[in-house]
């Protein structure tokens, strides 16, 4: 159905896609896997018309579609999932998809009300069908911005369904989604494929998910030779072994925090602690308030009750910026790098509040993430997902914080990169920094955690060491998928 011939794409000197040829059969669910930086997303973007290729051709059933823009491909039934309009409701998000609606033209809207209404009724009916198909009935009237991560993924899928596509490109629908939801997304994809004849091509990092759905699976190799990691001691230079005795009170405490963004409390009486030289992990089902709990510790949430203490000092009333000056580093989940600035400038901005020489912290970040040193002049927006995540963490480390907070650092990266990131986080821990992170990959995160917090509906459900939580049958059954 889609044939790609010898596709190349170069950004400056970087070869993002280097001579890829592949074919996607009609009615198949083709999986695309490969390490981070292999150019999977870029390949999608080229096929979907976001970037014109430097070389090579793309055919849709023998029609040459190379270089056509995304909207032209949309009309040919080639769709790439895109983010939802966050200010529209779920239902509105779906009804705005079909192109060429009669009501779009003012004359029609005024003078041919009947026709417009009939068409709108039909589109609304289809949207209702899609909402039901995806099990989004309960949130149909909600604004899309208020949905949980998983529901947004389903909505993305729903938007593509409204366009009645011939082929759908899915870029990591599973990223940042828990097991249960992943299963329902997988079911939806399978049913669309079997019952409605959709062709899918998907990038996915979750091997189980891929192997359940995809036939065939295409493996992409690195566009350029992979990075060889330096052997030997990879501790940060300047790492100080912790000689401090364990204090009675933890270094960072969010104590009995209750609060949210608006009137509703998202977290209730929630307590989170982190100790220097330890990793604390917050896990839990989607919508449990994990990110909110961490943001509350960082001062990004209005607290109605509770306190936050850093090294015994009450910082409850401080703004996030002031907390950065107190030695807290925060890596947001999204939009966590300056995409228009170079890697080096990103790191410089991280050290913005430090007066004087920043060569030392920068050298340490480069030791931790050697690939960043090599790419330091490249614009951060051109990096792969895993590399961007490294820039984001590096940026937060530039202030030499005493606490590092990470909001889902491994969302949307491949298992290999995830393992690598976890390795680096362990190295950061060894320097004596307190680490607090929210993780979707609960089992892997708990396996490196010194302490773990399982949150459910904004409250502490289980609190223990990572290993103990992993061994707890109830935790395993409810949150880790068996």
């Amino acid at each position: 159905m889609i044939r790609v011939e010898n596709l190349h794409l170069h950004f400056g000197g970087i070869r993002a896609v280097d001579g890829v040829s592949l074919e996607i059969e009609q009615g198949s669910i083709t999986g695309l896997i490969g390490p981070n930086g292999a150019g999977k997303t870029t390949l999608f973007n080229v096929i979907a018309g976001v970037y014109p290729p430097s070389e090579g051709r793309v055919f849709l059933q023998d029609e040459d579609i190379t270089g056509l823009g995304p909207h032209q491909l949309f009309h040919r039934g080639v769709l790439r999932t895109a983010h939802e309009f966050s200010s529209l409701t779920v239902a509105e998000n779906l009804t705005t998809v079909p192109a060429g609606q009669a009501g779009e033209e003012l004359l029609n809207a005024w003078f041919r009300r009947g026709r417009v209404r009939a068409q709108e009724a039909e589109i609304r009916a289809r949207a209702a069908d899609v909402i039901h198909f995806l099990g989004l009935d309960e949130v149909a009237g909600e604004r899309a911005g208020a949905l949980s991560g998983g529901q947004k993924k389903l909505l993305e899928l729903g938007r593509t369904m409204m366009a009645e596509p011939r082929i759908v490109f899915l870029d990591e629908v599973g990223a940042g989604v828990n097991r249960t939801l992943l299963r329902s997304i997988g079911d939806a994809i399978l049913r669309l494929n079997r019952e409605r004849g959709y062709t899918f091509c998907m990038i996915e990092h979750d091997i189980d998910f891929i192997s359940r759905l995809c036939q065939p699976v295409i493996v992409m190799a690195l566009a350029r030779r992979g990075q060889v990691r330096p052997a030997g001691d990879r501790l940060l230079p300047g790492a100080r072994p912790q000689t401090r005795r364990r204090p009675i009170m933890s270094f960072l405490i969010g104590d009995g925090m209750t609060g949210g963004y608006g009137d509703a409390d998202i977290i209730r009486n929630c307590t989170i602690e982190a100790e220097q030289g330890e990793i604390a992990v917050i896990v839990g089902p989607n919508g449990a308030g994990k990110s909110t709990a961490m943001k509350a510790v960082f001062g990004m949430v209005m607290l109605r009750a509770g306190a936050v203490l850093l090294d015994g000092e009450d910082i409850t009333r401080l703004s996030p910026q002031e907390r950065v000056r107190k030695g807290m580093g925060f890596v947001p989940q999204e939009r966590n790098v300056f995409t228009t600035m170079s890697v080096q400038e990103n790191l410089e901005m991280g050290a913005y509040i430090r007066a004087g020489d920043i060569a030392d912290p920068m050298a340490r970040v480069f030791d931790l993430f050697p690939i960043l040193k090599e790419r330091r002049r490249q614009i951060a927006g051109e990096l792969s997902g895993g590399q961007r995540q490294q820039v984001a963490i590096g940026r937060a480390l530039m202030t030499e914080p005493r606490v590092l907070m990470l909001d889902e650092p491994t969302a949307g990266v491949s298992p290999v990169v995830m393992d690598d990131l976890f390795d680096r986080i362990l190295e950061i821990r060894a320097t004596g920094i307190a680490i607090l992170m929210v993780e979707q990959n609960a089992a892997q995160a708990l396996s490196i955690a010194d302490r773990g917090y399982v949150l459910v509906t904004g409250e502490n459900r289980h609190t223990d060491t990572g290993a103990a939580l992993l061994a707890d049958p109830e935790v395993r059954r409810s949150f880790l998928g068996g």
Binding site: V324, F338, M341, E345, E348, M349, G350, Y352
Partner: protein, 338 residues
């Protein structure tokens, strides 16, 4: 062969040279608009009249200097009066921010509200300028008129067509080149410039990195005021100073910024030259130009002018509409105006 040379000189004299000078003036204006947009996230409609305000102060100072007999002939006296205009424009921008824009910024009002507030500031400023100096045309240029005179050029080359380059045109291009180079150095190299780029790129992350938003906003207003006063003065020296003309400059200025990709400084400069050369290129009567190139029997009957100069503004407008329809992010993929 001389025909071809004549044709080229003709085009240079009537299209390229005035277009480049005008493009430089627009570039300075568009840079100001784009910077304010990148940092404060709204389209500042008062920018054209800040140009008028700054130029007015330059003009008043110039008269004062002329009265005292101070000058830097052959260069125009306005050049030494320019710092006064910059200071006045900066003072105005900071006052307007303190009285109007800061209020909406603190309330996190949507960009549209700020845009409309800026229209209010624009009307108020138009009143101030007319109260002080009146609505009439004023001459700002003094000193030497030409770098190259048409008659000298003809004598030197033996061509039938002359090329004249006014001193004001040469000055405009030189001053713009210096201003743009200084601005780019500032944005790329200095700590404050990087903070501004970071703030424009990702406000939340910039705040997390400890960038002081008040400081960044202050820099944006100061730089925008400087650029506005310089652009206005250069335009005034090159043509003349009339408050209403400066208000009209708003449209080509915005078209340039949006064409280049709003929020993107390089884009603003490129956009400005495209808009300016389109204006001079489309309104030029090509009859004489074609007469040099075509055989005699093909000589065009009409003026071969695509649009009358009365429609100059329409060109910016058409460019604006086409960009917004075809590529709302502009050439360099700036932000989408909302």
């Amino acid at each position: 062969m001389t025909d071809v040379a004549n044709a080229i000189v003709l085009l240079l004299n009537f299209v390229i040279v005035p277009g480049v000078a005008y493009g430089s003036q627009l570039a300075l204006g568009a840079l100001g608009v784009t910077l304010v947009f990148g940092i404060l996230r709204f389209a500042n409609f008062a920018h054209g009249d800040v140009m008028a305000f700054g130029t007015m102060v330059v003009l008043l100072t110039t008269w004062w200097f002329q009265g005292m007999g101070v000058g830097i002939a052959p260069l125009p006296t306005a050049l030494i009066a320019l710092p006064f205009g910059i200071a006045a424009a900066a003072a105005f921008n900071l006052t307007a921010d303190r009285l109007v824009f800061r209020f909406y910024r603190r309330r996190k009002s949507p960009p549209v509200i700020l845009l409309i507030a800026s229209i209010g500031v624009m009307f108020a400023l138009q009143g101030i300028v007319r109260l002080i100096i009146g609505p009439n045309d004023q001459r700002l240029a003094d000193g030497a008129r030409f770098i190259i005179k048409a008659s000298e050029f003809k004598a030197a080359t033996g061509l039938k067509e002359g090329l004249a380059i006014k001193l004001s045109q040469g000055l405009t291009v030189a001053v713009t080149a210096i201003a743009v180079a200084a601005l780019f150095l500032f944005l790329q190299r200095s700590r404050a410039g990087k903070a501004m780029r970071a703030y424009s790129d990702n406000e939340d992350l910039a705040l997390l990195s400890g960038v002081n938003p008040d400081r960044v906003v202050l820099y944006a207003w100061l730089i925008a005021a400087t650029l506005a006063a310089v652009a206005g003065t250069m335009y005034g020296i090159d043509k003349s100073f009339k408050p209403f003309t400066y208000f009209q400059l708003l449209l080509p200025t915005f078209s340039s910024a949006i064409l280049g990709g709003i929020g993107h400084p390089v884009g603003a400069v490129v956009g400005a030259f495209i808009v300016a050369l389109s204006e001079t290129g489309v309104t030029y009567a090509y009859k004489k130009f074609l007469r040099y190139l075509l055989p005699e029997s093909w000589e065009p009957g009409g003026l071969v002018q695509l649009l009358s100069t009365d429609y100059k503004l329409a060109i910016s407008f058409v460019i604006l509409v086409v960009v917004l329809l075809v590529r709302p992010t502009g050439i360099f993929r700036g932000r989408v105006l909302s």
